[in-house]
């Protein structure tokens, strides 16, 4: 996977490159819009990360210019701005995504994967999801573990489904809030954790191997191994 990282802060660029390479991306980095254009023209990329505040031009102008030049790869926009620009919303609707700084690495990786998945030809929509001995019937909205039906509320089912779709990968609290409840907020209290504890109480009954793991300071992961 070839990734173009357009970010002018050298510190951020450095740690992003490290963790992205660790995650298996082949990373090319640019400090400004000019270099980014040149790199994008030289060889195609699968995905782009563009910071909005570039020294020579606005990140959005760069994205629009690249689109004009025929770059079709999805873009993850990084923004240190406070309010989400309407133009960013426009791009978001066009299939790209945005993330405000500072962000959790797990979230960045998850959003990148999401963008790549969205861009690849859609697999036929599965009606069943299974992770180890956990099975979800998406049509009947029913979850079973070791053949035993779990008594889940509607909301808990949606949460479990989201964890299953991202099995083996870290999801952060803000990702859960965004995808399950549809809101970008950062509560002062542990509202998401309580939902996870409850779900865990139902999914990981005593004597069974725990599936939902907490990664402190990062988020949660549904184990698939």
């Amino acid at each position: 996977m070839r990734l173009l990282l357009v970010e002018d802060e050298i510190d951020i660029q450095r740690f992003l490159r490290t963790s992205l390479e660790e995650a298996g991306f082949e990373v090319e980095a640019a400090m400004d819009g000019k270099t980014a254009e040149k790199l994008a023209m030289d060889a195609p990329f699968d995905i782009l990360i563009v910071d909005l505040g570039l020294p020579d031009q606005d990140g959005i102008s760069l994205i629009l210019k690249l689109r004009q030049l025929g770059v079709r790869a999805p873009v993850l926009i990084l923004s240190a701005r406070r309010s989400v620009d309407d133009r960013v919303r426009g791009l978001e609707q066009g299939g790209d995504d945005y993330l405000t700084k500072p962000f959790a690495l797990a979230e960045l990786l998850a959003r990148l994967r999401n963008l790549l998945r969205r861009n690849s030809p859609p697999a036929s929509e599965a009606t069943r999801l299974s992770v180890l001995d956990l099975e979800l019937d998406l049509l009947r909205r029913e979850a079973t573990r070791c053949g035993q039906i779990l008594q889940l509320t509607q909301q808990e089912f949606v949460l479990l489904e989201y964890l299953c779709r991202n099995a083996g990968r870290v999801v952060t609290r803000s990702m859960i809030l965004d995808k399950v409840w549809g809101m970008r907020i950062q509560p002062d209290t542990n509202v998401v954790d309580v939902h996870i504890y409850r779900l865990r109480g139902k999914v990981d009954s005593p004597g069974q191997k725990p599936l939902i793991r907490t990664l402190r300071g990062v988020g949660y992961v549904l184990k698939d191994r």
């Binding site: 240190a80 406070r82 500072p102 909301q155 809101m183 950062q186 509560p187 939902h195 300071g217 990062v218």
Partner: protein, 489 residues
């Protein structure tokens, strides 16, 4: 334009101004007429008196010089007849029978000697004797059987008899009546025309003022790009609009500077925060031992809190300057609340709190969804942090004339009395509170940015009550502010 223009016209200033101006004008012209009328009436009176006096003198002379024989009656009667045909102001349409003039001669002891006029003249004689008409200036005389009084002049001739000449005031009154009728008609027309002109001009001028008011009131808390309509004329109203627009230019400019400052502040703080957080995360994933992980995780959590604090601080700062930027859409407040309650309910029941929503069904408002999410999260976080176990939170959502109203009530200890008046200010929190003390300030900020209000008080029966109102529609964006008029930009 907007609903404001549809106000009853009777309440408009233009109506009042025109009414008073017309009243003054009508009174003035009426006064002039009364004066004129009096003058004309006096003049007519004077002329007919002069005629009467002259004629009665002539008739006296004729009567004196005519020998008292069989021809006397005919000669004097003839002369009197002739005189009656020269009556001033005579209505030519009155026909041949002449009842507007009479001539009467009595002997010294009051017996009727000669009568020229309509009828027998006896009633005339009686009235004359009853009113004691004396030679000299003509006098008014009412005679039974006649609607209008007569003007009568008398003279005494040498043989001791009296001659009376009477002229009906009918013609005189008719002339004055005509004059009055015409004037009233003319006066009404003038007054109506005057009212029309005054109303039209003031209404036009004031409608400019009203448009400016409309536009200015629509230039809301978050939209400063609009301008009030200006007119091409350089009159007082034109310069009012220009001045307002210049003022708006300056406000927009300083607002823009404020945004630039907060944006660059946010940017300058967020970039290092991003770098620090990223580096910490990288070191975390490098398979370190539990002893090392613990402090790193704690630092990351602190960093996240710091970031959220930074965001809220800047939002509150901007909103205090009425400069919070919104990106509005139509949202169903009822549905939004249900989802948020769904999110918070487990945490609340975990702490022994109950939350109930009372709502009249879907309630659509035009608002920034993310801001409303954050506002309600703040309210709920606040309750979670401060309420003792076994408390109940009641949420009431309803639409009223002021917009959507969201009332949150609990049966906890309520707000500290010393804190209550400053609840919506920055960095205020109760003694037992933890957090930045920005929560309720942020709630107020979001409500204000949407053109709404937030109020907090302690309930009489104990517990806190927070009421947030939000307008249903953002009128500063739905209606074009730059209506058909000449626009400044």
């Amino acid at each position: 334009m907007s609903s404001r223009t549809a106000e009853p016209i009777l309440h408009s200033a233009a109506w009042r101004i025109s009414l008073w101006a017309t009243l003054a004008f009508a009174c003035g012209t009426l006064l002039v007429f009364v004066f004129l009328h009096q003058f004309v009436a006096d003049d007519i009176q004077r002329r007919s008196d002069a005629w009467l006096s002259g004629e009665v003198e002539v008739l006296g002379d004729v009567a004196e010089q005519t020998p008292k024989n069989a021809l006397y009656d005919r000669v004097v009667g003839e002369v009197a007849e002739l005189a009656s045909k020269e009556v001033p102001n005579r209505d030519s349409s009155a026909g041949a029978s002449n009842d507007s003039v009479f001539f009467l001669q009595t002997s010294g002891d009051g017996a009727l000697m000669l009568w020229v006029g309509a009828g027998r003249g006896l009633t005339n004689l009686k009235s004359i004797q009853a009113n004691r008409i004396l030679p000299g200036t003509p006098m008014d005389l009412r005679i039974p059987g006649f609607g209008v009084p007569f003007r009568v002049a008398a003279t005494r001739i040498y043989d001791g008899s009296y001659i009376y000449l009477g002229l009906s005031e009918r013609d005189q009154l008719r002339v004055l009546g005509n004059l009055r009728a015409r004037f009233i008609l003319l006066w009404l027309l003038l007054v109506l025309l005057g009212f029309g002109i005054v109303f039209f001009t003031t209404h036009r001028m004031l409608s400019l003022v009203r448009r400016i008011t409309d536009a200015a009131s629509r230039i809301g808390h978050s939209d400063l790009s609009a301008r009030v309509p200006t007119s091409a004329r350089r009159d007082e109203i034109g310069s009012l609009a220009m001045t307002l627009n210049h003022m708006l230019d300056r406000i927009e400019n300083s607002m823009h500077q404020l945004h630039t400052i907060t944006d660059s502040l946010a940017h300058d703080l967020r970039s290092p925060l991003t770098a620090i957080r990223g580096k910490l995360e990288v070191s975390l994933s490098a398979g370190s031992s539990v002893d090392q992980v613990e402090p790193i995780v704690a630092v990351i959590e602190e960093l996240d809190r710091l970031t959220e604090f930074l965001n809220k601080s800047l939002d509150v700062a901007e909103s205090k300057a009425d400069a919070l930027r919104l990106s509005r859409s139509r949202i169903d407040l009822d549905e939004l609340l249900r989802i948020m309650i769904d999110l918070y309910e487990p945490s609340m029941s975990e702490r022994g709190l109950q939350i109930r929503l009372q709502s009249g069904g879907p309630l659509i408002i035009e608002a920034d969804e993310a801001m409303i999410h954050r506002m309600i999260a703040n309210l709920f976080d606040n309750e979670l942090k401060h309420l003792p176990a076994a408390s109940t939170i009641n949420l009431l959502l309803k639409a009223n004339s002021g917009g959507a109203s969201l009332i949150l009530e609990d049966d906890g200890p309520g707000f500290d009395l010393e804190v209550l008046p400053h609840l919506f200010e920055r960095r205020v929190r109760g003694r037992e509170s933890h957090g930045h003390g920005l929560g309720l300030a942020f709630v107020d900020a979001v409500a204000r940015a949407h053109g709404g209000t937030a109020r907090a008080l302690n309930r009489a029966q104990g517990g806190a009550r927070i009421e947030v109102t939000l307008p249903l529609l953002a009128h500063d964006q739905t209606n074009g502010v730059m209506t058909p008029f000449h626009s400044a930009h």
